[in-house]
Symmetry: C2
Subunit: 318 residues, 2 copies
């Protein structure tokens, strides 16, 4: 992306191993993410930025220090480079690794090949080569499923809990799926689009709320005995959606926010009097990748699901 | 408080039992809280507002439904009325009780007597009558100690953790004490005043950081291997202190914020990329009161401490 609105496909030299911890990956598939729209719209700077950070592919070459992936391995990558050994990574926050670097920017996976630094800490190999129809599910694990899963974990979705999900895009729908898998009792999807509502129900939503803002908050309260949800997931990133999520969380409840909230300004006093737990940010996808990618048989459902939501996400097969 | 800056001591009728869950308390001592300055400065409305919400006293009369306190009991109250039985209270968030009502405003304890609704859920009786020198410690439990304790718990202070405390007022100092009692390994008090630093060390601080803002964040990072503190407590409530607290928290760490932050506006993107847990708001003091007030022998230390920090807090003996 040369500048806002100016995206070009250009010939570049093949990437080469630079550090012994690098891997060169031939990309099988990659995505355009909603967050790519920030630089596209000029809200984030773009100046020859290499785009793309959701990716799966086959390892072509590894540096001498790489031990967990080897040439020929099919790998799923996370969108933040991490060593997976530092104190922050060991605590499960690989997106804040002391060696963190966003794949978007100087690396970029919207191309034929990419050099992935800290390959052991960033990539996870699948057991064997996946069937082609599993590729979209594995790609989803790289960002949208990993992010939705983190949001559900951050919101402490689990047995006996009511979970409200603000946002019916790819991440919001994956958060619904994650909340269901984590055992949530009631899952309220906030969506006004029939086709998204249908997908949300497919992934496990038990209730749909069409209202937004204060009216949406009131509906969530009506569905939760006046208290608000135990767990709320924010997967949009606008001022309205963020404050809607804060308002829908019961006192002492948990908000997991993963919407990339560039334009949000949170009134301190509103957050203060809400009295809620909040955890968010770029998801430490690497924490969840081993669990999300290894049970390939379980991925079939996710794959079918991905298939059905093509409209919510653009998949690029390289 | 008739209006901003206009505080009067006036004769009023004695309060009477209205609901069967009420208690009439003759106040022994009450405090002026830093948060009283909000209406005093005109930032919150005041229109004949009854002031005072930190209080201890002796029960004079109870309604028919009150079972846990009786006339003659010495009681410590929390600054939010709570039933202590609803789902929110049972989860430990009594300040968000479905029957929550702030004592400040329509009740007020800066007087000779007060009617305390939901007495069973709001008041905790001490075992026997405390020695007069223990009264300040018990009064501290009612707000500043309870709030500091909540902040330390919200920030997940505990063994092996480094805790940074932003704010050297009464609540910040009590948070230092709480962090020490909860077993924190290293406690960094952020203070530039020698007498407060001395108090902070008395309560258990192991390190002092005099710098504020970005420079303060850098110093905390230097003291924590570049990572930031595991646990950060915000006990001021200004824009600078809040963002300093966010910045001082390591990725995946925990921020407990109890500073009454009327004027704070949190840039969403800064909170997002911090990748931290945050929990705050008016402290559910009632959750902690039984533990804070029952071991009266342990309160002696707190009492002595209260004595030494008179300059940081105004105590009113009724």
């Amino acid at each position: 992306m040369h500048k806002a609105g100016d995206v070009r496909v250009e010939e570049r030299d093949d990437p080469k191993i630079v550090d012994p911890t690098d891997a060169i990956v031939r990309l099988t598939a990659t995505c355009i993410c909603g967050s790519d729209l920030w630089p596209y719209r000029g809200i984030e700077p773009a100046d020859g930025t290499l785009m793309g950070h959701e990716y799966v592919g086959v390892v072509e070459e590894v540096g001498d220090a790489v031990t967990t992936v080897k040439p020929g391995d099919f790998v799923v990558g996370s969108f933040v480079i991490s060593d997976n050994t530092c104190e922050i990574c060991r605590a499960g926050f690989q997106s804040k690794c002391v060696h963190a670097e966003f794949v978007h920017g100087g690396i970029g996976t919207q191309g034929e090949k990419a050099r992935i630094p800290l390959a052991d800490g960033t990539l996870v190999a699948t057991p064997g080569q996946p069937d082609p129809e599993l590729v979209p599910a594995l790609l989803a694990a790289s960002d949208v499923l990993g992010t939705g899963w983190f949001a559900a974990v951050a919101a402490e979705a689990g047995p006996g809990k009511t979970v409200a999900v603000v946002g019916d895009g790819a991440v919001g729908l994956m958060a619904v799926l994650a909340a269901r898998r984590l055992g949530a009792e009631k899952i309220i999807a906030m969506s006004r689009y029939p086709e998204r509502q249908e997908l949300a129900r497919y992934y496990g939503a038990t209730d749909i709320v069409e209202e937004r803002g204060d009216a949406g908050v009131e509906r969530v309260k009506e569905l939760t005995g006046g208290l608000g949800a135990h767990s709320v997931i924010e997967a949009v990133g606008t001022q309205e959606s963020f404050m809607q999520a804060v308002g829908a969380t019961r006192g002492g409840g948990h908000l997991g926010y993963v919407g990339d909230n560039h334009d949000v300004s949170i009134p301190g006093i509103q957050l203060f009097f809400a009295g809620i737990h909040a955890l968010g940010g770029p998801a430490p996808v690497r924490r969840f990748l081993p669990d999300l990618t290894l049970p390939l048989d379980q991925a079939a459902e996710g794959c079918k699901a991905m298939d059905e939501r093509r409209a919510t996400k653009v998949l690029l097969t390289v």
